[in-house]
């Protein structure tokens, strides 16, 4: 037997009060004259045995009454087969981390009710079932384990709203298990109150040692067919929109607005990426958004994007650059994408220190050494190496270029730490056979092949002109960085002086859009928990050391003893 409030047992010393009063005769009775004292003496002599028994019985009853009340106040717990805290019983001191998943997906509305409302109700019941002897933490989607009094945690639960941060349940459970496992309490428990999205389970598996119980609330029914805007990024004047969502959700109309003006409409299904050409606009920062029709989860129906339109670059091409470059630049010049100028030079030689250079390998292998010396003089970390093997181009930042074969090339070698420079997508922009093929190194863009059909099929492909456009306008001049972060849909600009030097586009994690619940096997395999419906969850919480609180029984017994005492004291003379 254990006690919820063992300090109350100090009150057991009060059980000695009736005996002490009886023994010490503390009360001084009043004096009175009474002539027939001989009758009293006789009556007392005849009743002595009965009175002694009565006094003894009263003493026992009163002592027992006090002892029962004190023990009941200490809330004794005994082993029980009945329900746990949820069933009205009590439990041994428990270290508990309650994970309340208020990630964006918890804002979904199912059967007319927000998922989060159900989660909060269950979480509230769990915290309310905790006792003063328990150690309780509350972990929300931000992953912070909050300790505090029961009332404070209840207030936190009540005030919880759908957050903009995704919760990785695997990592959260792993942290929670470590936290409770460090507590020297008889039982340790992690309760996962979540919509249990399949995508909420990250990589790996949470290790759950013996002595730690993990409970997971089972999701309600089937997943809603939700769609969300997973990504919206502008590259070279084209907005790439990717949709995410629950498997099986059909296509949905999306609308693209640029500075509030609708500039495009499209029908797309989750998983699809669609390019939407943006209209020609004046140079500057443009903010727009992509919106879907409202569905069960509203927080992922809109995503902002930012588009920086730079002024046309001034380009000068050396004759050695070849006819294909000259032709491409002519097309771009005609389309007002470039102008004659000295911003960017394209050729076999490096431009003066102030300008940018797209450096092609020399046609004559004997001039490679000269080119490398020039690069070294400029402090470049990259150089032309030996001839490389043919292969297709692989790149993520240049549309339409991937897969185009390269027949002849020089390897590009990093002679420094390889981290210097600031190209889009890193230093290496494109590669062939896993070896760098297009590299940004400070003011220099190094290409492993000449832009000639003898070296690569790129000049003969439709992607060549956009490739040259990207080389001179975007890659060579550099782009203002646009970062992405989790948060409410929006754009925040970084300002330096009077210039806007970058932007951060925020939105929910695309994985939140897939509301497909995790299978029981996945839950069991990653966090070692069984899925429990609400009733079983309530019954199983604090169930590791389930104890029954017998204080009510003791109080009833005390009441009975009090009634017997009253009867003996009043009804028997």
């Amino acid at each position: 037997m254990t006690f919820l409030h063992p300090w109350a047992l100090v009150g057991l010393t009060a059980a000695a009060i009736p005996a002490l009063l009886h023994l010490l005769e503390r009360r001084v009775p009043p004096d009175a004259e009474f002539p027939p004292i001989r009758y009293l003496t006789e009556a007392e002599r005849q009743s002595a045995r009965r009175l002694k028994l009565r006094h003894l019985l009263l003493l026992i009853l009163r002592t027992a009454l006090i002892a029962l009340l004190v023990i009941a106040a200490a809330r004794p717990l005994v082993q029980s087969r009945g329900g746990g805290a949820g069933a009205g019983g009590a439990h041994e001191p428990t270290a508990l981390v309650l994970i309340l998943d208020n990630s964006p997906s918890a804002g979904a509305v199912v059967d007319g009710r927000p998922v989060l409302a159900r989660l909060k109700r269950v979480a509230r019941a769990s915290i309310a079932g905790a006792t003063a002897a328990d150690r309780v933490w509350l972990m929300l989607a931000d992953g912070v384990a909050r300790a505090g009094s029961r009332e404070a945690l209840l207030a936190t639960v009540d005030s919880a709203e759908p957050a903009w941060r995704r919760l990785d349940l695997t990592a959260a459970v792993a942290r929670a298990v470590r936290l409770v496992n460090a507590e020297p309490l008889p039982w340790r428990e992690v309760q996962v109150v979540s919509d249990l999205q399949r995508t909420a389970f990250g990589e790996g598996r949470a290790s759950v040692p013996r002595g730690v119980g993990v409970l997971a609330l089972a999701p309600l029914g089937q997943a809603s067919l939700n769609r969300g805007v997973a990504a919206a990024r502008v590259t070279d004047g084209v907005l790439g929109v990717t949709l995410s969502g629950t498997s099986g959700a059909g296509p949905a109309p999306l609308t693209v607005r640029l500075r509030g003006r609708t500039v495009g409409r499209m029908l797309a299904a989750p998983g699809a990426s669609v390019p939407i050409p943006l209209p020609s606009v004046a140079p500057g920062w443009w903010v727009g958004d992509v919106a879907l029709d409202p569905d069960e989860l509203r927080s992922d129906d809109r995503r902002a994007f930012v588009w920086r339109v730079a002024p046309p670059a001034g380009v000068r091409a050396e004759p050695a650059a070849g006819p294909f470059i000259a032709a491409a630049l002519a097309v771009l010049q005609q389309g007002k994408r470039v102008v004659e100028g000295a911003d960017v030079a394209v050729g076999e030689r490096l431009q003066s220190e102030a300008g940018k250079t797209v450096l092609l390998p020399p046609g004559d292998p004997a001039l490679v050494g000269q080119a490398n010396r020039a690069l070294a003089t400029r402090g470049a970390r990259w150089r032309f190496g030996a001839a490389g093997t043919p292969g297709p181009v692989a790149t993520a930042s240049l549309a339409g270029v991937s897969g185009i074969p390269v027949a002849r090339r020089y390897r590009l070698e990093d002679i420094g730490d390889g981290e210097r420079g600031s190209g889009v997508g890193g230093v290496v922009i494109a590669s062939v056979n896993g070896e760098p093929w297009l590299v940004a190194d400070g003011d220099v863009l190094l290409l492993g092949s000449r832009l000639d059909t003898a070296w690569t099929a790129l000049p003969a492909s439709p992607a060549f002109v956009p490739f040259v456009d990207a080389l001179v306008n975007r890659l060579a001049r550099g782009e203002a960085p646009v970062a992405e972060s989790e948060g409410p849909p929006g754009v925040a600009f970084q300002i330096r002086g009077a210039d806007t030097v970058g932007a951060t586009v925020s939105g929910p994690d695309p994985r939140e859009s897939d509301l497909t619940p995790a299978a029981a096997e996945l839950v069991r395999g990653t966090i070692g928990a069984e899925l429990l419906d609400e009733a079983r969850f309530a019954a199983e919480r604090f169930a590791g050391t389930r104890r029954a609180d017998v204080s009510g029984l003791l109080l009833a017994l005390a009441l009975l003893v009090a009634a017997v005492e009253l009867g003996v004291a009043t009804l028997t003379p």
Binding site: R27, P29, P30, D31, A32, E33, F34, P35, P36, I37, R38, Y39, L40, T41, E42, A43, E44, Q46, S47, L51, R54, T572, P573
Partner: protein, 294 residues
Amino acid sequence: MADVRRIDLLDPAEVARLGGIEIVAQGVVEGFLAGIHRSPFRGFSVEFTEHRAYQPGDEPRYLDWRILARSDRLFVKQFEEETNLRAMILVDASRSMAWHGAPTRLTKRAYADRLAAALALILLRQRDATGLITFDEAVRQVIPARVKTGQWLRLVRGLLDTPDGRGTAAQTALLHLTGLLARRGLVVLVSDLLFDRALALTALRYLRHRGHNVIVVHLMDPAEAELSGPPEVRFRDPESPASVVVRPRELARAYAETVAREVAAWRAACRRHGIAYHHVLTDLPFGMALRLLA
């Protein structure tokens, strides 16, 4: 139905507030006699002396039926000793008698004084010689039985002049007064009987043996009949250092049984020896008490 204006039937404490013993006793006796219309006490002699004409109130049993048969006139027979009854009233003046269970009640001694005075007045009115002995552990007052004028006032004075005593040794006093009662007569003992029953009965039996008619009036305050009081109290005996701590509520039943047993024992013992015994509570109206004695 009792006449509520008769003070002999009123509460003794209220009656006592009307005045001193004389006034109270006279009022009680007047009311008492008016209620019964006849002499309550009669002589003990059986020696016939003369006839006299019947008067209303005379006992029919004393009618001379022969004269009635012969002359059709009513005559009653009178006897030698009819007016020469010698009555001696013994009043216990011990310390225990000076006690009452509530301020609204008379002490046993006050009740006994008034009852004795009333009884004496009745006896003297019917020309019975009446005397008084008061006693505690010793005989305090002895007023021989007389029938002369002023005897009642002497008796009353004797009662008033006897202070409350300390202890009680009734058998000593009773034995002493047997020597004072040479002629047979009526002995009325008014006491709370808080003394050794066996020894007291020895003396009373001796009186009875000497031919006296003995009446024992056992006075008791109602608070002595039923135990009550605070939850716990130390009771002290006024006549001795003895004391006892009791819880009246838990001892009440046993006490009541003990008192009932004691009263029954007195009654049985008295009956066994031809002694009249009356248990009188001090809240009993005087008229009712006198009727017990009649």
